[in-house]
Symmetry: D2
């Protein structure tokens, strides 16, 4: 659903571990950079959405690692909207170095209200789902 958005990420020293490669848990931070930039490319600043009352929590996250990323690699985080529900958003991700795919993953984000229960997505965000569907 929709196109891949690409955002660059340069691997930091801190993100490596003693195997000399990027620690697997760090990829979820790259995915987050990806979805933030996906939104920004569509005119939405996630910080502003939060200020306006949106709270998205990560309900599920997964990654599959195909080849290691290394210090100072200039990676591309590719992000695509997979599905937008009434109160949820699914994204898919790929991490590439040039044409080589290093990892792929997905997240399920759920919009919640002050009571911690699912809450309809704010209209600005929901509109992106309709746009993607056409």
């Amino acid at each position: 659903m929709g196109d891949w958005h690409e955002a660059p990420v340069r691997v930091r020293y801190e993100e490596t571990d003693r195997q000399g490669v990027v620690y697997h848990g760090k990829y979820f931070e790259y995915f987050e950079v990806g979805r933030t930039e996906w939104l920004r490319a569509r005119g939405l600043v996630y910080r502003d959405l939060e200020a306006g009352g949106l709270t998205l929590v990560v309900a599920e996250a997964r990654a599959r690692y195909l080849a290691p990323a290394r210090y100072d690699d200039l990676l591309t985080v590719r992000t695509r909207l997979e599905r937008m529900g009434h109160a949820s958003v699914d994204f898919a991700y790929e991490i590439r170095r040039g044409e080589e795919r290093l990892a792929e993953g997905s997240t399920l984000l759920v919009s919640i209200g002050p009571d911690g229960r699912p809450r309809r997505l704010v209209p600005e965000l929901a509109a992106l789902g309709r746009e993607g569907a056409t």
Copy 2:
């Protein structure tokens, strides 16, 4: 397959984010603490296995988040061996605060050789799979 091993983890300030809860990517670090302690409880020190030539890489990781963990919570990381293959190990995890389950997840670790290709698990580790199966 086998019993749950329990290890305590105290949430650090750094692990929280501006939502006031533990950042979702941090749970993979907790899972790692869990499997390290699972091994230690069986007499194996993962650092020593690496020094002896074992390289385990994370090939897949996933988590499902049920309720937020907060700063200074004393969590329990529960770890269980799910399956041990010729060159791979599956673990399942739960993060609890008292009796409340906050998250569950799994990882697939693969043993690789210097060439980056799958390689039979070292005997000390493989032995734990046979033990767990009985």
Copy 3:
């Protein structure tokens, strides 16, 4: 001023970098564990102090690194109150592995109010300064 408090920290895989040692920035997280446990040993839970209106911000932090810490090391974080002012607290820290001193450092924390300006320490905390001074 006052005695050293000791808290254990086990080095996690994620905390290492591709040099095979703990990344220097991580020591500030260990220092924070140290001061949290220093408080707990005196009957104060920092989370509760925050809930009661205290906001301590780190105004200065420094560390000197003497020898590397490695994966799975069981470290001791030693914390000592150096000085307590009207609106500030100075701590000194040492990181040891057994008797070996791996790092030492310090932080200056400042109590601030909702306006971001310095604000008198809450009485529970200020009382520890008087106690330490005797």
Copy 4:
């Protein structure tokens, strides 16, 4: 000694803590981005220097925090060479958001050999000190 080099860093969600601001320990990662890019601007890739046998370890690090950085802020990391010794390099840093200075700090890096003892800087790096001095 020498000019300030400027590198952009966008604050990630993970880098914030429950006070809603960037965790103080993260600034040392920004400083590292700064010195890596300072080198790159002079034609040196730190990864390549390491591959060629250079090992720089952080011997001292300090930061002073003036105002908080927040999620999604586009920061500027300013880096300047302060001094280059036979086996050491001092950098100074500033973190700015627009014209506002949020933090300043410094690091002392020491070149070490396989035995862990100080070792003369590699010529490519030492040359930058002479250049900066003129």
